[in-house]
């Protein structure tokens, strides 16, 4: 379990990383915190000939918040985001989801954008980005394009990012006042990837549930008017509409059951939080 050989490039800016990618194309992988990429390299599921390390790039480490968005640069570690002042006010859903992302030991190095780039179907950060209609900012050379989360996640570990692009940042919209949030998940061990994870948003005119771990990408379901008396029917319909499959970790039936129970729990948490 050792990586195959590669050249290592320590980039001092994202611009340099973009240059390296432009030069080598799909032979390059961007190394940030390494908590998703390094296992892939160790298991030789990924064999790049060049690694572009962006963790020394000063322009990648910024977290900026204005009235509309929270922007997180490519080099921001998950721990750094957790420690961002007032995160639970600026983005309460992200604040609730982050403690579920890996372990203290992996959050210390893993980045927010790295988790988005890896696009594991069970990962919490992609789920949160999708639940909040976030945006991924991709860069090719000096050119940038913005992709919404729903267009970005295409399949299991498959995204709209081209081989010659780098994620420069992700943006989470700031929720309107009066929106309640809830997040819960079940995994084999706290910190492992979720078997099922649910994120809920409840506002006076909209109810949203985002489900991770069941389909290849996060699934979003919106209801305009949500009659609490019909909640269990709605969650049951949602559970059966998903592409729940059986694998080593759980049966399809257990996954559907988790969608029903975790969905109800997340919605309840969101309603309590909104009130």
């Amino acid at each position: 379990m050792k990586p195959a050989p590669f050249d290592y490039v320590r980039c001092d800016s994202l611009e340099e990383a973009a240059e390296v990618i432009a030069q080598h194309g799909d032979a390059v992988r961007v190394l940030a915190g390494g908590q998703s990429l390094m296992p892939m390299l160790n298991m030789r599921l990924s064999r790049p000939s060049v690694l572009a390390d962006i963790m020394q790039a000063g322009d990648a480490r910024q977290i900026t918040a204005d009235k509309a968005t929270l922007r997180i640069g490519a080099g921001v570690r998950q721990t750094a985001l957790s420690a961002y002042p007032d995160l639970c006010k600026i983005n309460p859903l992200l604040a609730r989801a982050l403690p579920w992302v890996g372990h203290t030991q992996t959050r210390a190095r893993g980045t927010v954008c790295g988790s988005v780039a890896h696009a594991d179907p069970s990962a919490e950060i992609p789920l949160t980005l999708a639940a909040l209609d976030g945006t991924v900012i991709l860069r090719r050379g000096g050119k940038r394009r913005r992709v919404t989360a729903s267009d970005f996640f295409l399949g299991m570990m498959l995204t709209d990012k081209a081989d010659d692009e780098i994620i420069e940042a992700v943006e989470f919209p700031i929720l309107s006042e009066g929106t309640g949030v809830g997040f819960c998940e079940v995994g084999r061990r706290k910190g492992d990837f979720a078997i099922v994870a649910c994120a809920a948003l409840v506002s006076p005119d909209r109810v949203r549930l985002a489900v991770g771990g069941v389909n290849d990408t996060p699934v979003i379901r919106d209801w305009d008017a949500f009659d609490p008396a019909e909640e269990s029917d709605a969650l049951n319909a949602l559970a059966w509409s998903l592409d729940a499959r059986e694998d080593l970790h759980a049966s399809a039936r257990y996954r559907r059951d988790l969608v029903r129970s975790l969905g109800a729990k997340a919605l309840q948490e969101a309603r309590t939080c909104a009130a």
Binding site: A4, D7, M38, R109
Partner: protein, 169 residues
């Protein structure tokens, strides 16, 4: 921009347990292997090599981290702490290590180096850590001998001792 060629060994310097050290690494060399094979610091153990088991946990610039998910070239110039640096001197165990011994918090000992590094970091950063926080940090480790209860008991006692030491001081 600094480019390191795949098939050449490059000089890597770091502060290991308070002492400056140097060694050579090809870019693909993991920090865990650099510590063990290049620096002969074999206290850090290698388990799963994909970040799940926690046996290889060390401290990088003050934060607990998996040394198997880190390249030696990434931490050139960093401050690394490993289990070899925990005991205050050759004749004495640290408070946490003593508690592990007293509570039989290890059996085969393979996972212990990593667990000690995580718990030592927790208790250093959060001297009043409660059981919930200890359990949370411990969740990043696998132990196949103890069933964790003895580890938890040792960590809780160490936390209480350290807290008392701070209050008495």
């Amino acid at each position: 921009m600094r480019r390191l060629n795949a098939d050449q060994r490059h000089k890597i310097g770091m502060t290991l347990n308070g002492r400056p050290v140097e060694g050579y690494a090809v870019p693909r060399l993991l920090l865990s292997d650099f510590l063990r094979h290049e620096l002969a610091a074999t206290g850090t153990h290698v388990g799963c090599e994909h970040g799940v088991c926690g046996a290889c946990t060390v401290r990088i610039d003050g934060m607990m981290a998996r040394s198997c998910l880190t390249l030696a070239v990434q931490v050139d110039g960093a401050v690394i702490d490993t289990v070899e640096g925990l005991a205050p001197d050759a004749e004495r165990l640290s408070v946490l290590q003593s508690a592990f011994r007293k509570h039989h918090a290890l059996q085969c000992g393979f996972c212990t180096a990593g667990i000690l590094m995580s718990l030592d970091t927790l208790l250093r950063d959060t001297p009043d850590a409660d059981e919930h926080q200890i359990r949370d940090v411990l969740s990043g480790h696998l132990c196949r001998c103890t069933g964790y209860h003895t580890i938890l008991n040792a960590a809780i006692e160490a936390a209480a001792t350290l807290k008392k030491d701070i209050q008495d001081a």
